[in-house]
């Protein structure tokens, strides 16, 4: 295989994999946004840090699958805490989200600082999960991430009808006998999975942008779910590749923030130029009407 001149083989593989990850995150995020749970992923993403450190502490290994398995457990646990708080206390959803997000991140920071203060060998590098750092990815890891992302997209594709129904009219879905709660949990788990898969690229603090910004941007262009999914996926893909390229070109620039800024630029274009909901279209409609 010949890579483009000047681009090492590893960088090319990583960029390709991150593209797939960005696509899948955009697709899955659509349901979070449609369901008005855009920030549930934020709680999960901040919790992943504690999961990564805990996985390293428990196994002593620092290969990516082990760390991400820990991150996934932490993400699901944080979502479980959210459900528990919603069911058992009178704390409202917004406070519960902020609470789980900040406390779980505090746990992660305390564990990470404790590790580095003790100079435990191999602990260095875990802080790359804070803001994302794709340069450290091996080709094998990257391919694994891409494979998981593809699997997530396939699950969404298989359950498209159910997910759409629950996203738009949960009351109708429940009345006609669909297991709304189970579909809901499945969707949230998929979002958590994509948050974890996106972690090496975007980092715990900003990975939530991967599942929020592309869907919100895509929503500006269309009212149809399949179109929105494809568009969100494409925007996520472009943002991910752009971020990886920019951070590879500029030394010391973390990948996560760059991905977010590319995605934000695409959102800004969508916000102004969307055919019906866009700024210009609305101005025109207002002037005409």
């Amino acid at each position: 295989m010949t890579a483009a001149p000047g681009i090492p083989y590893n960088t090319a593989v990583v960029a390709g994999a991150v593209a797939v990850v960005g696509f899948a995150a955009g697709v899955v995020g659509c349901f979070g946004v449609l369901r008005r749970r855009a920030l549930a992923g934020d709680a999960a993403s901040h919790a992943t840090l504690a999961g990564v450190v805990a996985a390293f502490l428990l196994t002593g290994r620092r290969d990516l699958p082990t760390l991400l398995a820990g991150a996934f457990v932490a993400a699901v646990a944080s979502l479980g805490c959210l459900v528990l708080i919603r069911r058992c206390t009178r704390t409202r959803d917004d406070a519960a989200t902020a609470l789980v997000l900040s406390v779980s991140f505090g746990i992660g920071i305390a564990m990470l600082s404790g590790l580095s203060a003790r100079g435990i060998p191999g602990a260095g590098g875990l802080e790359q999960f804070l803001l994302g750092h794709t340069a450290a990815l091996t080709a094998t890891d990257a391919v694994t991430l891409a494979a998981v992302s593809l699997a997530v997209v396939l699950v969404v594709w298989a359950g498209l009808k159910e997910a759409t129904l629950v996203s738009f009219d949960p009351a109708f879905a429940a009345a006609t006998g669909w297991p709304v709660a189970i579909i809901d949990y499945a969707l949230v788990t998929l979002v958590a999975a994509m948050v974890v898969v996106g972690l090496p690229a975007a980092g715990a603090v900003l990975v939530t942008a991967l599942v929020v910004i592309p869907p919100v941007a895509a929503r500006q262009w269309t009212d149809r779910v399949p179109t929105m999914l494809l568009l969100a996926g494409t925007i996520g893909l472009v943002a991910a590749v752009g971020g990886v390229a920019a951070s590879a070109a500029v030394p010391r620039l973390a990948t996560g923030p760059t991905i977010v800024l590319v995605a934000a630029a695409l959102f800004a274009v969508s916000f102004f130029c969307g055919p019906e909901r866009g700024w210009f279209a609305r101005r025109r409609a207002r002037a005409g009407g």
Partner: protein, 427 residues
């Protein structure tokens, strides 16, 4: 005890200043956070705490000192831009608030990180410090005030706390009114937008004052968690604010000490202590805690079983059947029977149970409630006869004397229920 004494003994001025800084910062955050939580604006606090970063970074690039006035202004400006952008996205783009917030704060935070990274050689801001602060280093950056070396962060935190507390105290009535009924507040002519803008400015101030000490994300813990905990413990808004501030200060002290003992990040441990406080409150809070709810549920369940047992015996009497010991089938009915016997509601005589005078009165109240409800349903709801029993079986445990009287008046005397059985008189 010895370890604790040793710890306090070793607590040098450095630690005392760091703890004092954490405490004033936590108190200010908890005060503002109380209003944010009550007004369901917690996530806006989250967004602002992230979004002040580019404001701080630009101000530092422009020559401001961390903790200085220029940085404060930059942060407040960034916070107001955040809020403005979310509003523009909602009005002009039809974006739901959570989606708009998610877009704006991640973008601004990313922008801040990029600025800090790009200018790292020129400005004194470390990406790690942005995320979780360095409370431990706060005592080294001091200014001389009245002959005393005072950490700059403490001075900023204390000043902001005083300003915010004074501002909120002066407008407390308006804040309270807006928090609980924003439409009514608007209707009586309160400048709701100004009140809200004041709250947001206060949020920006406490956030930027805390930034150096605990970083962007753990500020969220200080803003939201003490307030959420206080909400479980207190009913009145000003009680809630005091409890939240107390919890914040306690967490600041305990978290710092724990971090020192465990040799880890103070900001992280403060967040952990705040989380523990919430978890404990969620379990033991007097009205809303898990234990209180469980006890209340069990007490209600037990009362229902006892009342059902009494009513069972009363109905058996009415049907002139012998309420033999076989009347009680389940273990819970047996337990209830023994309990009722011990309390003098029923007696057991030669293998059969019967009601005492007290027990009879209580049973009649239950049966009366049940049949009155059936009569009322029969009159007002278009239900078949065999559908009247289940709702009455549930509500019989919840009707008071006043309601029974009114139902009786409504159904016209209340001689008998729709099944033709007579309704007992009020005992």
């Amino acid at each position: 005890m010895n370890a604790a004494a040793g710890m306090w003994g070793e607590l040098s001025t450095m630690h005392a200043w760091a703890i004092a800084t954490a405490a004033v910062v936590a108190a200010g955050c908890a005060l503002v956070g109380t209003l944010l939580v009550v007004r369901r604006m917690s996530l806006l606090g989250d967004a602002i705490s992230h979004a002040v970063l580019p404001g701080i970074a630009v101000a530092v690039l422009a020559g401001g000192r961390p903790g200085g006035l220029l940085v404060l202004v930059g942060a407040v400006a960034a916070a107001l831009v955040t809020v403005l952008l979310v509003q523009v996205l909602r009005r002009e783009g039809g974006l739901a608030d959570d989606a708009g917030t998610g877009v704006v704060f991640t973008t601004l935070f990313a922008l801040g990180v990029v600025i800090v990274t790009a200018a790292a050689s020129r400005i004194d801001l470390d990406p790690g410090c942005i995320l979780y602060g360095i409370l431990e280093l706060v005592p080294f950056d001091t200014v001389r005030v009245a002959g005393l070396e005072v950490p700059r962060a403490f001075l900023t935190g204390a000043t902001v706390l005083v300003i915010v507390a004074a501002g909120l105290a002066a407008t407390w009535k308006e804040q309270l009114f807006t928090a609980f009924d924003i439409d009514a507040a608007r209707a009586v002519g309160l400048p709701v937008a100004v009140v809200t803008a004041g709250l947001l400015a206060a949020t920006a101030l406490v956030t930027v004052a805390s930034f150096e000490a605990v970083g962007a994300i753990l500020v969220v813990a200080m803003l939201v968690v003490p307030a959420a905990t206080a909400e479980l413990l207190a009913r009145r808004l000003h009680t809630m604010a005091f409890v939240a501030m107390l919890l914040g200060v306690v967490a600041a002290v305990l978290g710092y000490l724990a971090a020192w003992r465990l040799n880890t990040s103070a900001a992280g441990m403060i967040a952990v202590v705040l989380g523990l406080q919430y978890a404990i409150a969620a379990v033991v809070a007097p009205d809303d805690g898990a234990i209180a709810r469980l006890v209340a549920r069990l007490a209600l369940g037990w009362r229902v079983i006892c009342e059902d047992t009494l009513a069972l015996l009363w109905r058996a009497d009415e049907a002139d059947a012998v309420a033999s010991t076989r009347a009680f089938r389940s273990p819970s009915e047996w337990t209830a029977a023994l309990w009722l016997a011990a309390r003098g509601r029923i007696v057991r005589d030669a293998g059969r149970w019967s009601l005492t005078a007290v027990g009879r009165a209580e049973a009649e109240t239950v049966v009366r409630s049940h049949r009155l409800w059936e009569a009322w349903l029969g009159r007002h709801a278009d239900l078949p006869l065999d559908h009247l029993h289940p709702p009455a079986e549930w509500i019989e445990h919840h009707l008071g004397a006043e309601l029974r009287r009114r139902i009786e008046a409504d159904v016209g005397g209340g001689e008998s229920d729709p099944h033709g059985r007579s309704i007992p008189r009020e005992p």
